[in-house]
Symmetry: C2
Subunit: 197 residues, 2 copies
Amino acid sequence: MDRIQLQNSFEAYFNEWGYEIDWQRLTVPMDVHVIRKDDYLFQQGDMANRLYFLHSGLVRYVSVSDEGKEFTQTFAKSPRIIGSTKAMVTGDHVLFGIQALEDCMVSSYPWQVFYEQMRQDIGFLECYAKFLERIFITKEERENAFVKHSAERRYLDFCASYPELKNTIPQQQIASYIGITPVALSRIRQRLKLNHV
Amino acid sequence: MDRIQLQNSFEAYFNEWGYEIDWQRLTVPMDVHVIRKDDYLFQQGDMANRLYFLHSGLVRYVSVSDEGKEFTQTFAKSPRIIGSTKAMVTGDHVLFGIQALEDCMVSSYPWQVFYEQMRQDIGFLECYAKFLERIFITKEERENAFVKHSAERRYLDFCASYPELKNTIPQQQIASYIGITPVALSRIRQRLKLNHV
DNA sequence: TATAGGAATTAACCTAGGTTAATTCCTTCT
DNA sequence: AGAAGGAATTAACCTAGGTTAATTCCTATA
């Protein structure tokens, strides 16, 4: 994948929303990151005030508590924007790291400059709003699941939502996504097996 | 408060971001809702695909599980936009209700029509994006707190973030905001009292 | 094919917070 | 002032999930 291809795949992502965007405005150079499986794009606590775009591969957002416990906030599959909106727009340190679950190809732009150049383009703004709506809705739904559903129900929902991940990623990561330990997940799977099947 | 005043307070809210917005584009009539303390603007499961603006008063977003347990997702103080982004943009049923903690004055517009009229205005789009960034960041931070901090820590953080609510709303609601029962909150307060002070 | 190292399971035990219920404390209304 | 009804506290008990550790299972490499 050369730079032009990366640029095209990035632009194609926005075009999916069906708005005209004048990419000529964008003159800031893109950075390219190749991340090997298990490595991090950035670590919790880093500065990450860039717009990252995942061209290929799969990542998870992983947040670790003071006691060292890992929590997986999100799985993200290419092609899509990744990163921390908070860190990007506020310049704060990021509250989670992004780890590659497969080899990944990522490009990035410094957000401040990127936004300054693109904010005159109505198509871009509308896409950006659609993107924000989408990620917000995802969080609303996930908060809802955490608050209203048991760990068992969250596991079943995970299996339904991510059938392709269910068998390809380690169970520890599934456990940390639904907010329990691997031991607890194993117990739940055991219980499910005994009941039906 | 008459309609003109409501309209002005709504527009003033957007102007805080410092963008020029051409409100002349907006011709759809505003609805006005007066909600008495403890009553609901809408209930969980309702259709709520409108843009709601809280002109005066204080509300909470309350989500109830299948077992009937209440969870407070957010406290929102006027002036600000309230409602469910998910329900507004997708037309889905809303996952929580909005309850007035004081008498409230709310206005609303049907989102589809509102957005269709305003999406040509670059100032509006930029404000809308800023608004979405803000509510998303709030959720990122809250998710972080739930995942990484104990109930005790969440209580202390609540007291620091909402000093004015700490003594004006019932403790049950504080408990349901930090995700525990009133009994557990009482225990935590007891423990804190014994340790220091 | 053997083996080393991580992944998952299982079992025993522990703990934070949930549940129920009794008691006390406030308000508010008459 | 007295009564009624909700809010908070406290205590006794329960449970889902955490913790630790031993055991088994896999898969990758020699």
